[in-house]
C-alpha cells in the first residue's frame, strides 16, 4: 500500500518546499508542456540537466524519484519498445516481418524514454514537496476566475480536499480490514484468478460500509460546526506569493527561451 510514491508527500525543507504551491503547480504543468518542444539531443539533455538540478536543490534523495518510475514501468517499456521496432525507416539495420530496427527508431525510443523520465520526475517533485491539501488549495485558487461563469469553485475545492483527506483514511481502513480477514484465513494473491477476485469481496464490502459511515459522520460533524457554503469564508492556510516565486517564473521563461534557441539550432 505504501509503495505508491507518485502522489505522496515527503516532509522536508528546501527552496522547492518553500515555493508557493500555486506556482509549483502551474510550473509543473508548464514544464510538461515544454518537454514536447524538445527535438534533439541537446534540448533533451538541457531539460534533463534542469530536472536533475531541481531534484538536487530539493534535497530529496534521487532514489525516491527512481522509485516513482516503477508504477509506470510497463507503460514506459511498452511505448519504448513500440518506437524501437515500429519506426519506419529508409535504411533499417534489421528487418523481420513487421519489425524494423533502425538508428532513427533507437533515437526516437531514447527520446521517448527521456520524456517519460522528465515528466515523471517533475511531477514526483511536485507531489513529494507539496502536501495534498496545498495542491487542492492551489487548484481552488487557480480555478477562481471560473466563478464568473457560475462554476462552483468552492464546492469543487471542498470536494477535492475531502477526497484527498479520505485517501490515507481509506488506505488505513483497507489495511485494517485486510489484516482482519487474513487473521480469519484469507490468502490474498493465492489460487487462480477467480479465487483472487473472490478474496476481495471480504475487503470491498466492509470498505464500502465503513466509507459510507465515515462520510456520514463527516457530514454531521461539518453541519454541527455550522459549515455553510464556502462563500465569504476566510482561509486558515493563506498562500503567499513571494519574490522567489517570481524568480521561479523567470527561470521557467529563461528555460523556454534557451530551449527554443537550442531547438532551432
Amino acid at each position: 500500500m505504501n509503495k505508491l510514491i507518485l502522489g505522496r508527500y515527503l516532509p522536508g525543507d528546501s527552496i522547492i518546499y518553500r515555493l508557493d504551491p500555486r506556482g509549483k503547480f502551474l510550473i509543473t504543468f508548464y514544464f510538461i508542456g515544454i518537454v514536447f518542444l524538445a527535438n534533439n539531443v541537446a534540448s533533451y539533455g538541457f531539460l534533463l540537466l534542469f530536472v536533475l538540478f531541481a531534484v538536487y536543490i530539493s534535497k530529496i534523495n534521487l532514489g525516491f524519484f527512481i522509485k516513482g518510475l516503477r508504477p509506470m514501468l510497463w507503460l514506459i517499456l511498452f511505448t519504448v519498445l513500440l518506437q524501437l521496432f515500429f519506426t519506419p525507416s529508409e535504411n533499417p539495420l534489421w528487418h523481420w516481418g513487421i519489425f524494423t530496427l533502425s538508428t532513427d527508431g533507437m533515437r526516437i525510443a531514447a527520446y521517448i524514454f527521456i520524456r517519460f523520465v522528465l515528466i515523471i520526475f517533475i511531477s514526483t517533485l511536485l507531489t513529494l514537496t507539496t502536501t495534498p491539501i496545498e495542491i487542492s488549495d492551489s487548484i481552488e485558487s487557480i480555478l477562481k476566475p471560473l466563478k464568473v461563469i457560475k462554476f462552483p469553485v468552492t464546492q469543487v475545492a471542498l470536494m477535492l480536499s475531502i477526497a484527498l483527506r479520505f485517501v490515507p483514511l481509506l488506505i488505513d481502513e483497507t489495511t485494517k480490514i485486510m489484516d482482519a480477514q487474513r487473521a480469519r484465513g484469507v490468502d490474498f494473491g493465492e489460487g487462480g484468478i477467480m479465487q483472487r477476485i473472490k478474496s476481495f469481496v471480504p475487503i470491498l464490502i466492509p470498505l464500502f460500509v465503513s466509507s459510507f459511515s465515515i462520510a456520514y459522520d463527516l457530514a454531521i460533524a461539518m453541519e454541527s460546526r455550522g459549515y455553510k457554503d464556502g462563500e465569504g469564508r476566510s482561509k486558515y492556510r493563506v498562500l503567499s506569493w513571494s519574490k522567489r516565486d517570481y524568480m521561479a517564473l523567470v527561470v521557467m521563461l529563461l528555460i523556454t527561451i534557451i530551449l527554443l534557441f537550442i531547438r532551432s539550432y
Binding site: P11, K176, I177, A180, R182, A183, R184, G185, D187, P202
Partner: protein, 284 residues
C-alpha cells in the same frame, strides 16, 4: 502454545526518512494457557507486538517462536494458515470485518478458510453464537441490521469459531456498555479456564486487575515491565514516570492511606480492597 519473542525489532518504512521504530529489541515470553494483559499508551507498540504473533507483521530483526513455529524476517507468506488457525485475533472494532449476508455465513467464514467442512463450520457457528450471548435466532439475520454491540459479538464469534488455541484481543470491549463489557470479559476468562491462552490489549486497568495473571507494560516500543499485575501496580517507578495508571481500587486505597489506613501492598481489586479495609477497621 508458549510464545517467545527473541530480540525482536520492527521498523516501519525501513530505509526512508519516515522510518519509525514499532518495536525496539523486545524479548518476552507469553506463557501457555495464561491470561496475559498488555498495557501501554496509545502508539507505544502494543498492536505492533501482537501482530507479530500471527505473522501479519514480520520482524525487521529477531525471531518469534509460536509453539514450534518460527517467524523470522525471512518468513514468507505461504503456509501461514496453520499458524493463523491457532492464533485467533479479535481486532479493535472487529465489527468492521463483517461482510456476509447472514450472521451464520460470516461466523462460518473463518473456519471454512481453515479447511473445516461446511457441516462442522455450521455446528461451530451455532455453538459460538450462543457462547457470545446471542440466540440462534440471530443466525439468519444480516449482520448489518444488528446494533453495534451485537455486531461486535458476531465478529468475536467469527474468530472463536475456528477454535484457536491462542486468542489475541485488541481492546475488545472499547465502546461497549458496562454490562456488555463484563459479559465479554467473563467469556474470555472462561475460555482461558478451558485451556486457552488469552492475550489482551487494554487501557482498562480494572480489567487487568480482575482478569489477568500476567502483565506486560510496553513503553516507547520497549518492554518496560513483565510480571504479576499485583507486583507491577506496586512498582512505584512505573507510576511516577507516568507510564501506568492504577486500577480504581488501588487509587481508593492510596487516598485511604492518607487517613490513617496503611497498605504495605496496594489492593488492586474491589474484593482485595474490602478485605483489607475490614481487617483494618475491625483490627484483626
Amino acid at each position: 502454545m508458549e510464545i517467545i519473542f527473541k530480540n525482536v525489532t520492527h521498523s516501519y518504512e525501513a530505509n526512508s526518512p519516515l522510518e519509525g521504530l514499532g518495536l525496539d529489541d523486545v524479548s518476552l515470553t507469553i506463557h501457555d494457557k495464561k491470561f496475559t494483559a498488555i498495557v501501554g499508551k496509545t502508539g507505544s507498540g502494543k498492536s505492533t507486538l501482537v501482530r507479530h504473533i500471527n505473522a501479519l507483521l514480520k520482524p525487521t530483526s529477531g525471531t518469534i517462536l509460536v509453539g514450534d513455529r518460527e517467524i523470522t524476517p525471512e518468513t514468507n507468506n505461504k503456509n501461514l494458515k496453520p499458524l493463523r488457525k491457532n492464533v485467533g485475533m479479535v481486532f479493535q472494532f472487529p465489527e468492521s470485518q463483517l461482510f456476509e449476508d447472514t450472521v451464520e455465513k460470516d461466523i462460518m467464514f473463518g473456519p471454512m478458510n481453515f479447511g473445516m467442512s461446511e457441516a462442522d463450520a455450521k455446528k461451530s457457528a451455532h455453538k459460538m453464537i450462543e457462547l457470545v450471548g446471542l440466540g440462534k435466532e440471530y443466525l439468519d439475520k444480516s449482520p448489518f441490521d444488528l446494533s453495534g454491540g451485537q455486531m461486535r459479538r458476531v465478529a468475536i464469534a467469527g474468530v472463536l469459531a475456528s477454535e484457536p488455541e491462542t486468542i489475541i484481543l485488541d481492546e475488545p470491549t472499547a465502546g461497549l456498555d458496562p454490562v456488555g463489557r463484563k459479559e465479554i470479559m467473563d467469556l474470555f476468562k472462561n475460555l482461558q479456564e478451558q485451556g486457552r491462552t488469552i492475550i489482551l490489549i487494554t487501557h482498562n486497568m480494572d480489567d487487568v486487575a480482575n482478569y489477568a495473571e500476567e502483565m506486560v507494560v510496553i513503553h516507547d516500543a520497549k518492554v518496560k515491565a513483565v510480571g504479576k499485575p499485583k507486583d507491577i501496580f506496586n512498582d512505584r517507578s512505573l507510576l511516577t514516570d507516568d507510564i501506568l495508571t492504577l486500577p480504581r481500587s488501588a487509587v481508593f486505597a492510596q487516598r485511604l492511606a492518607k487517613k490513617n489506613f496503611s497498605f504495605p501492598q496496594l489492593p488492586i481489586t474491589i474484593s482485595e480492597l474490602t478485605t483489607e479495609i475490614k481487617r483494618q477497621v475491625h483490627g484483626d
